[in-house]
Symmetry: C2
Subunit: 327 residues, 2 copies
């Protein structure tokens, strides 16, 4: 930097000024500095800068999930991708961190406290995530993607409208002529488990027989198959099923096929997520699309606002129905 200053015939201070806002710099020396930087191939040392500004320019993307399920789900990948692109456009970096076990969680906390990151995007699918509260205590800006913990400090979150999407799908199945609806719900401590089931009930009210609700153990194909089998047992004359995720729906489709029920002839099947897998099934899955790109955009916007010291509000984004062939 001193070299650049010398070549440009100015001082460190002026170089610093053009590096940042570049206000109060004459166009002559601005050009000179630019040229000198070009000549020398100068690049700022971010560490030195961070040391004094106490900002790192990086954001942590924390995946608070058990490792197995983690990337099965293309939804996460897409979210991460869009966040990276958006953050990158602002000159910010995205640091990927896992928080699947105590060690990893400790590392995340350490990172946040150490000021390595200016903020945290916490992708948490489970209620009452202990990391959320702990992170909040560090004082680092945090925005949660998914569901905000019911108890604990309130922090801004961004989520797709799970409940509304479930209502949409349930109503659609009704409109398509289904009369005996069932559902495969996700684990109860996840938004997919609680909210989507709630949406289903919103539409159907008390008219849901006991056997018409099956809980999947996890979000896997196998769990979907098992849950569907239980449904076929407990509610044999069902004519439509709303499945709380596409992955589960794949399993449900398999179980239905094995039981000799045709889709959508005998049974209508609706999924949720619109993941890549949805168009690959046979028949292709009618499902609910989460506005992933918009979730990502809101996520970074809220976080950036938080970092800037503002107090943005939480956001819930509308979901839409994608009609394919399974319903």
């Amino acid at each position: 930097m001193e070299d650049v200053a010398e070549i440009a015939g100015v001082s460190r201070g002026t170089v610093s000024r053009v590096l940042n806002g570049a206000n109060h710099v004459s166009s002559a020396s601005l050009e000179a500095v630019r040229e000198a930087m070009r000549q020398t191939g100068y690049v700022v040392n971010e560490s030195a800068r961070s040391l004094v500004t106490r900002r790192s320019g990086a954001v942590a993307f924390v995946l608070s999930e058990p490792p197995d399920r983690l990337f099965e789900d293309p939804v996460l990948g897409g979210l991460m991708r869009t966040c990276t692109a958006l953050l990158g456009a602002q000159g910010r970096g995205l640091m990927l961190m896992l928080a699947g076990n105590a060690d990893e969680r400790e590392r995340v906390l350490h990172f946040a406290r150490g000021g390595h990151v200016d903020g945290v995007l916490l992708v948490s699918m489970h209620d009452g995530d202990p990391l959320a509260a702990a992170l909040h205590e560090t004082g680092v800006p945090v925005v949660i993607c998914g569901r905000v913990p019911a108890a604990g400090p309130l922090m801004p979150y961004v989520a797709a409208d799970d409940r509304g999407g479930a209502r949409l799908m349930t109503q659609y199945l009704l409109d398509r002529g289904a009369r005996r609806l069932a559902t495969v719900a996700g684990p109860p401590d996840t938004p997919g488990g609680a909210e989507r089931l709630a949406g289903f009930r919103d539409v159907l009210g008390e008219a849901v027989p006991d056997g018409a609700i099956a809980r999947a153990e996890s979000y896997s194909i196998e769990a979907g198959r098992a849950a569907m089998d239980r449904l076929l047992h407990g509610y044999p004359d069902l004519d439509a099923v709303f499945v709380a995720s596409d992955l589960l729906a794949v399993g449900a489709l398999q179980a239905l096929h094995a039981a000799g029920r045709s889709v959508p002839g005998d049974v209508l099947v609706g999924g949720f997520d619109d993941s890549a897998i949805a168009s690959a099934t046979m028949p292709p899955l009618t499902t609910i699309r989460q506005p992933l790109a918009q979730v990502a955009a809101e996520l970074v916007e809220v976080l950036v606002q938080l970092i800037a010291g503002r107090h943005p509000s939480s956001r819930v984004l509308p979901t839409t129905l994608v009609r394919r062939e399974s319903a």
Copy 2:
């Protein structure tokens, strides 16, 4: 840090020593420092440390891919996840960066030159990636995942044995009684396009009719369907098809189904990747598994060696056949 030193009754130097290796520190003052750190809740300032050590502790994970295909493929997600975990265990962070367009590539280069990262994991699926050479010029350690560019400077790479896997599958189809084999190959500038086709030819030699090879335009379900349709036209009596990726195979399965051919009754279908989708298809896909966890492990090992100033060699890891129902 000065505070910690004071409370512990030692000097900055000693605190620094316990922070790093902690050699040549008496157990008395070691304990005192530890206790003082606990009391004050001290955490090191990495920026200050990086400023003097010229190491950042972070590694860039660069995705040199057009954005659309990016996360369709769960393979990438798994790779990233494992790398993150492995790197994290060493106290290193993983910075995700995209390099899908010129702007993004420039950002990556800037990052590397600026010393923000100690090394780069470049996930490049295309030959002759300009980023590889440019990155190499910055002097930052780089290891490539996938295929090393044919021309250009040689840099270490880690890859799964595509060609061997293709041979494995082709031989397997032969062993299962197939006599008229065809293949859906990927785009020629990708390892999936070149190497896997080469493996297919290794086994079959010159005995492959013209109509038995179809090139998919990209790695999408649609492209797979289109390629399969061409095959059915150009080589109607085929009894087995080796498809260069699972995603393509999903499309092929659909085309076969539409043409009234049963799988595996009329036609055996073999995929490649063993991605999550492979067990979701109907019938479940017999495919080639890439040793993802091991690729990730080797990737970080090679990079860490490179960072330490060693000169590790490139690695090609064996693939295995996963037998399901499609063949």
